[in-house]
């Protein structure tokens, strides 16, 4: 009890000291914890085991005897000096009616921070540190006496990334995951396997053949992986809270090609932090639960349930009422497994602190002595009897392949794989002979048998051929994956592949294209490309490109030699050549273009490829097409010109002799064509066109004007500088001055800074925003210093300074001098805080009086710019972590420190980089990825800033994008309110995470000179309308105060977006529709009335008449219409 009190004291920093007792939601009594956990009606949650049997359970898995193996890591996450390794694997069995495991036995102990575990092959596989081990009991004592290193070389840099989430696949292979910071170079009998980053590995345990199964979709913290009944695998990630379909990735050796990393989204659920994933089935659960996904959300103390819907191409997961909701704050469900008995077993890490890197390993709040295993059962139906799989004839084992419980089918395959393979094969054959074609599960049973054959490595051509042609598309898709595994042992694998690639069902085609990547023969690609004859979705497009690249060594040589013809199918040839981008393919591409066989939609891609890979003579043909625009739409022509401009800048496309033909395009009626031509003229440095180009600066059309400035900047030299200077002063209109000065910054920084200070000393006129000017200075080397110098002489107007501060926040550029200067000019200067132990103590002591609601108001202040980078419930910036659940993982001291010293601890995945280029540019952002070719950053404005490695002069890694000094303008009370607000986020209560679909990301119409009255509904359609982001509060309510204040009239307009993934009827329900007029895509809408929506994006507009409406807020929920198949969500983000 003394220890409990001590822990509590530390947690609440004295807050609860005054009250002197443990709050019930932190009580260590299992029965108390159980009473705080809520399950659906008709269900009950039972305690299976607790400490000291189970401590810090990290993974649970059943074996064929129905025993539950639990990986326990009391030392997690780090063994400290002086400590001996004492982590262990314990087996629980013989569960009584109340769920309690009557027997437990430690199978292995003395482990050092193991992170993944799976029973099998007479013992247990364990992932620990750098190695995968197998422990075995060869003497029948019930405890392992043999320890073998199976593979070594896995990364150890982060124990929450080391080998985890072990799972047997239906194919008999063992799958496990590694996370983002894991730098693995694994020694295998088939050669080294390297992967620096997150992935799912696939291991054939009988020969230790290790390959990457997936590395394409969610790269890190993927702590859940489950196969559905048809072998499709799904992953649940704690980052960024998504459930995804796995698109099995390529073999390793080609995997460094960044062009092939797809940006695909199959489903996106919300801001949950998933850990553990199970797909449930079987007789114990209700019919409408079959195939549901269960995931643990360790932040919100819940186990979520989703319904999985499959439209043949992609899956959508629909949130349902959670399986478990806990008010107890140490409940951390991190692994979920359904037992063969049908009950849902949950590993509860039982921790107050789950953060890994932000909290000291010695923090006394970390738990090293407790852990819980729970199970959820139906009270109105008995559990399914545990199947007999061990100690019975194989003929009985094979019958379990038809069991309704997925886990039982899986364990039956395991038993077969571990039996004598010849005997297993004959048992399977006998069983297959007895299957009844009229059985509703006939096709699934045959698929199970096919997998069982794969598990014993026994090729059954006849069964494969039958399943490939099954009536059930799921079976065809799954069998296609087996085809890839057996291809070198089949008589006619390519013919089978070609048939699957033209299957009417898109997922079968996808599997066929992926399968082709495993067949190292020239004919595999043409077979896969049959998929082009049918519609190609983004998954298939990615897979086709990947396969073409993977197979390049086998088909391209043959193609050039004329031995491989693709049967004259130019669509296939074009696609394949585009995919591999081989320079010597240019003549082939020219041939395709000139014969008109490339197809209209493809021709710009073909031309751009010729431009990128060809010699000057070949490029001349592209130039001809670009300047005449023959056969191209305006958009295509502009794209082609822009493509040439990029190459011209990289000096890969020299100006042709007749380059001055560009001049005629300057006055092209299509602004996009004219703008592209102006830029290209500059990139080619066409002096002869200088004067014509300069005239366009005064053009009324903003894109043309901007393009002219860009062109002049590219032309460079004193002439450009003086032209721009001439446009930089009054009486030129503000917009032109702004454009000219911004352009000038790249040519003459000091001069531009002086002119900028004059411009900024004026308050920006309505509709004008000098953000770009600030950004230009911040993005060039020495730019910020020059600007500070000029602004010190001529200070900016308060409004101009405020815009500058916003830019600083949004770009995340650390420029303390400029920040201070702008703070002063804007009149928001504050004082700097020292953060020593004394100050932390003093501020945290104020927490009990702090008000989270006031804190939310502080968070929402535009001057702080929190939403620029952070989202709440998905709505807001994506540059910093979504803060929805932060309160459940972060302690107040950490939150305080993060606000005051943003760079001290950086959340993983938010590594920042500042990159200086050879051309004097500076880019600051989150490091997305880096390859020998390029580095990719993300900043608050742009998702992918691609910087070629060749252009990089210097790079600095580290630090936060969050500016220092955000707290300066806050009083102590406001600061503590803010901390209190953050610490409540995600906890049960008014700031909790909710599954209600409520609109959180809005935009409000700003008054502007071109749109005289915001009440005009026309504003919705007018592209000149200016909209400003607006976010709902955590509760989902949108305050309208800001909308009302920004108006001179009594009417305001806000809008939001809805994405529909499956069409159907939905309803938009407003809490209080008084004084609101609603439109959906321009058509009037009634609150709560069903409305049919097609797939895609839809815009909701709300007109608020403040003369009628007294409620200064609104709230809009997306409601399901009974019987409707619709799947929709509000668009979030920034």
């Amino acid at each position: 009890m003394i220890r409990v009190c001590l822990v509590v004291l530390l947690v609440w920093a004295g807050m609860l000291h005054a009250q002197g007792k443990t709050p019930i939601e932190l009580s260590d009594n299992p029965e108390t914890q159980r009473s705080l956990m809520q399950v659906p009606d008709g269900f009950e949650i039972q305690l299976v085991a607790d400490e000291p049997t189970v401590v810090n359970p990290l993974q649970i898995n059943f074996d064929a005897q129905g025993r539950l193996w639990v990986l326990c890591a009391p030392r997690y996450p780090q063994l400290l000096p002086g400590q001996e390794p004492n982590d262990y694997v314990v087996i629980l069995e013989d569960f009584d009616a109340k769920g309690k495991a009557r027997k437990s036995r430690v199978f292995v102990d003395g482990l050092m921070v193991p992170t993944g575990m799976m029973p099998g092959d007479g013992g247990v596989y364990v992932g620990q540190g750098e190695a995968l081990y197998h422990f075995r009991d060869t003497k029948g004592t019930g405890k392992a006496n043999e320890r073998r290193v199976l593979l070594s070389g896995f990364g150890t840099a982060d124990t929450h990334h080391t080998l985890n989430t072990f799972r047997w696949g239906p194919d008999g292979a063992l799958y496990f995951n590694q996370g983002l910071y894991t730098h693995s170079s694994v020694e295998t009998p088939f050669g080294p396997r390297k992967l620096f980053g997150g992935c799912i590995w696939r291991l054939q345990t009988d020969r230790l053949k290790l390959d990457v199964y997936d590395r394409s979709i969610l790269p890190n913290n993927t702590w859940g992986h489950a196969f559905d009944a048809w072998g499709q695998s799904f992953i649940a990630s704690a980052w960024p809270g998504a459930l995804n379909l796995v698109l099995p990735d390529s073999p390793l050796h080609k995997n460094t090609n960044n062009d092939l990393v797809p940006r695909l989204k199959s489903t996106q659920i919300g801001a949950e932090r998933h850990c553990g994933l199970e797909i449930v089935s079987g007789r114990h659960l209700p019919d409408d639960w079959q195939g549901n996904l269960l995931t643990g959300d360790f932040l919100s103390h819940r186990v979520y349930r989703y319904q999985l819907n499959d439209d043949g191409t992609r899956f959508v997961a629909k949130p349902l009422a959670p399986l478990v909701q806990s008010k107890h704050r140490k409940f951390r469900p991190i692994d979920i497994k359904q037992g063969p008995d049908g009950a849902i077993y949950i590993a509860d890490l039982y921790q107050q602190i789950i953060q890994h890197n932000q909290v000291d390993f010695r923090d006394p709040r970390r738990g090293h002595e407790r852990g819980r295993i729970w199970r959820v059962v139906r009270t109105d139906r008995p559990l399914t009897p545990m199947p007999k799989l061990v100690g019975v004839p194989l003929d009985e084992v094979v019958q379990q392949l038809a069991a309704p419980e997925e886990v039982t089918r899986q364990l039956a395959k395991r038993v077969l794989a571990e039996s004598d393979h010849d005997k297993a094969a004959s048992a399977l054959e006998r069983w297959l002979g007895k299957l009844d074609p009229k059985d509703a599960n006939f096709e699934r049973n045959r698929l199970e048998a096919l997998w069982a054959y794969q598990g014993i490595d026994h090729v059954n051509t006849s069964l494969l051929t039958k399943t490939l042609a099954s009536d059930n598309p799921h079976v065809r898709a799954a069998a296609t994956r087996v085809l890839a595994a057996w291809h070198d042992r089949l008589p006619d694998a390519l013919a089978l592949l070609a048939r699957q690639a033209s299957d009417p069902q898109p997922r079968v085609r996808l599997e066929a294209v992926l399968a082709a990547g495993h067949m190292p023969v020239s004919g595999a690609l043409p077979a896969a490309l049959k998929a082009l004859d049918l519609p190609v979705d983004p998954f298939l497009d990615y897979a086709l490109r990947r396969t073409a690249v993977l197979l390049e060594p086998y088909w391209y040589k043959e193609f050039k030699a004329g031995r491989l013809t693709f049967a004259g199918n130019t669509k296939q040839v074009t696609f394949a050549l585009q995919a591999i981008r081989a320079p010597d393919a240019v003549p082939l591409l020219i041939n395709l273009y000139q014969s008109g066989k490339a197809g209209e939609a493809n021709q710009v891609e073909v031309l751009q490829l010729i431009a990128a890979l060809g010699n000057p003579t070949q490029q001349a043909m592209v130039w001809e097409a670009a300047h005449t625009g023959k056969g191209l739409t305006a958009t295509q022509q502009a794209r082609l010109l822009a493509g040439i401009e990029t190459l011209a800048r990289d000096k890969k496309f020299a100006a042709p002799k007749n380059a001055d033909k560009l001049q005629s395009l300057f006055s092209n009626p299509e602004p996009e064509v004219a703008a592209a031509a102006l830029r290209l003229a500059g990139a080619w440095k066409l002096e002869s066109l200088r004067s014509t180009l300069a005239k366009e600066i005064a053009n009324e059309n903003p894109p043309r004007r901007q393009a002219a400035v860009d062109g002049l900047v590219s032309l460079g030299g004193p002439a450009s500088a003086s032209t721009l200077e001439a446009h930089a002063a009054k009486p030129q209109p503000y917009a032109i001055r702004l454009a000219a000065i911004t352009g000038l910054a790249a040519l003459d920084t000091a001069l531009s800074a002086r002119l900028a200070s004059e411009l900024l000393s004026e308050a920006p006129p309505p509709g004008q925003d000098p953000s770009r000017l600030y950004a230009e200075f911040l993005g060039s080397k020495g730019g910020a210093t020059a600007l500070v110098k000029a602004l010190t002489k001529t200070p900016p107007a308060p409004d101009a300074a405020k815009i500058g501060l916003r830019v600083l926040v949004s770009l995340g550029t650390p420029e303390p001098d400029l920040t201070r200067l702008l703070h002063n000019a804007a009149g928001v200067a504050g004082k700097e805080r020292k953060l020593d132990a004394e100050a932390v103590k003093r501020l945290l002591a104020l927490l009990p009086q702090a008000d989270p609601h006031r804190g939310e108001e502080v968070f929402r202040r535009p001057a702080l710019g929190c939403f620029q980078c952070h989202a709440l419930g998905g709505a807001g910036g994506r540059i910093g972590p979504d803060l929805s659940g932060i309160g459940t993982s972060a302690q107040p001291d950490y939150l305080l420190e993060s606000i005051l010293l943003p760079s001290k601890i950086i959340r993983e995945g938010y590594t920042t980089a500042q990159v200086f280029t050879t051309s004097g540019k500076v880019f600051t952002g989150i490091l997305q990825r880096e390859s020998p070719k390029e580095l990719v950053l993300r900043d608050p404005q742009r998702d992918d800033i691609v910087i070629p490695q060749d252009d990089i002069e210097e790079k600095k890694i580290g630090g936060s994008l969050m500016p220092n000094g955000l707290d300066h303008s806050l009083t102590d009370a406001e600061l503590v309110d803010l901390v209190r607000f953050l610490s409540e986020l995600g906890k049960p209560g008014p700031f909790g995470v909710t599954h209600v679909r409520v609109a959180r990301r809005w935009q409000m119409l700003l008054p502007s000179p071109t749109v005289p009255s915001p009440s005009a509904e026309k504003a919705l359609e007018d592209p000149q309308s200016l909209w400003s982001p607006l976010y709902s509060k955590t509760s989902g309510t949108l305050p309208l105060g800001e909308v009302a204040r920004s108006l001179d009239k009594q009417v305001g307009l806000v809008r939001g977006q809805i994405e529909v993934v499956s069409p159907g009827k939905v309803a938009l329900q407003f809490d209080n529709p008084g004084g609101l007029k609603l439109w959906l895509d321009g058509a009037p809408l009634e609150s709560g009335a069903p409305v049919a929506l097609t797939r895609g994006l839809h815009t909701l507009a709300v007109r608020i008449d403040f003369s009628v409406r007294t409620d200064l807020s609104l709230r809009c929920e997306l409601a399901d219409v009974p019987g409707s198949p619709a799947q929709a969500r509000f668009v979030d983000g920034k």
Partner: protein, 392 residues
């Protein structure tokens, strides 16, 4: 199967007669031995056989061993991850080797590279030479090891014949490098192939390339034989008069001869270590059943003829037990060093919290070195060979 054995025989036939192209490596007081390489080196830390074998010839010398083997590593240090204040790859490798100030370097690279086949050879040779050039200023006595062969485990494991031809080519390349740079070289490949040929029931690896206990026993033996040349007598012969052979490696003390047999203390110059076998022969005893006890532990009862033929001692009996204890102490030290050198969670962001732990781990390593030093030096043990009481 016959053809596979045939290939091995061919390899043996073509092999250089002596596996050693080197001078002796004699460890001396103050030596700091650094083991560097991939998993083949790294895995040794769990056994300690190599340290035990190389130090037993000068048991009083103060010598430390540090294992910097990193599974999956290549000659460019590619597997070495960036961690707290640690640079990446080769820079990290060099920094860590230099910090340990080695006087002896034992390097084992090439197994991972050998999977690149002959195409990778020129690059391997060049990169290995560059690494040696970078390490040369340390003036450490340097030993280059060849990679071990891939063990043939039958189906469904990969057939290693082709790969082993490549390993052999890499072995030659490493031998050439050693010759050019006048370094010591130990061929591990051919003696291991030979050992497997001699006794096919031995299993060196868990998966063909990952050495397990017997593999590391053999590796340490090969290296010791190659660098020290001396081997331990497999049998110690004592006669009932209290003389011992071979007299150059062991002596008898406190000999008590009686009608019931004899008691004595045996002092050995060199301790056996795991992998060694030991027979004790006692000759000249009068007929009868004798109880043999070593260091207070009953070994068994034997007739005078059995004793004259020699009794094979098991690992639980002295002096083999002392070798096991020594190796366990080395493994414990290796564990402490591993935790300090390559701790989990060494991603930079975690280090603010465990940076101070370095000193604590170093202290543990230093204390364990003292334990090892105490176990390294042979101590005499009591042997009783006494007639059993005849039961009525």
């Amino acid at each position: 199967m016959l053809t596979r054995i045939g290939t091995y025989l061919l390899a043996i036939a073509l092999a250089v007669p002596s596996p050693c192209v080197c001078d002796e490596l004699r460890l001396k007081d103050g030596d700091r031995v650094v083991l560097l390489g991939n998993g083949f080196i790294g895995g040794e830390r769990e056994f300690g056989f190599l340290e035990a074998r190389l130090t037993r010839h000068q048991p009083k010398a103060n010598v430390v061993f540090r294992n910097l083997g990193w599974p999956g590593d290549t000659i460019l240090g590619l597997a070495r991850t960036p961690g707290f204040q640690n640079p990446t790859g080769l820079d990290r490798l060099l920094k860590e080797v230099r910090e340990l100030q080695p006087t002896v370097l034992i390097i084992g690279y090439g197994l991972n590279e050998s999977f690149d086949g002959p195409d990778g050879l020129p690059r391997f040779r060049k990169e290995y030479d560059a690494l040696l050039a970078k390490l040369a200023p340390l003036n450490a006595r340097t030993v280059l090891l060849s990679p071990p062969p891939q063990e043939d485990l039958g189906k469904p494991w990969p057939d290693p014949r082709e790969h082993n031809q490549h390993v052999e080519q890499y072995t030659e390349a490493i031998a050439d490098l050693a010759r050019d740079r006048k370094l010591l070289f130990v061929d591990v490949f051919r003696p291991m192939v030979e050992a497997k040929r001699t006794n096919a029931s031995r299993r060196f690896t868990t998966n063909g390339i990952q050495l397990q206990r017997d593999g590391y026993v053999e590796l340490a033996r090969i290296i010791e034989r190659s660098l020290v040349g001396k081997s331990l007598p497999e049998q110690i012969a004592i006669d009932a008069k209290g003389t011992v052979a071979p007299a150059d490696v062991c002596t008898l003390e406190n000999v008590e001869l009686s009608a019931k047999g004899l008691k004595f203390h045996l002092r050995e110059n060199i301790w056996p270590v795991p992998g060694d076998v030991r027979k004790m022969q006692v000759t000249g005893l009068k007929p009868g059943k004798y109880a043999l006890a070593i260091d207070g532990r009953d070994v068994g009862s034997f007739t005078e003829t059995a004793l004259a033929a020699g009794i094979s001692l098991d690992a639980g009996a002295m002096p083999l037990r002392a070798g096991e204890e020594l190796c366990s102490a080395i493994v414990r030290k290796n564990d402490f060093f591993y935790r300090r050198w390559r701790p989990y969670n060494d991603h930079s962001r975690h280090w603010g919290f465990i940076g101070g732990d370095f000193q604590l781990w170093e202290k543990q390593v230093a204390e364990q070195e003292k334990v090892i030093a105490g176990l390294r030096f042979p101590r005499p043990y009591a042997v009783n060979v006494l007639l059993e009481e005849r039961k009525p």
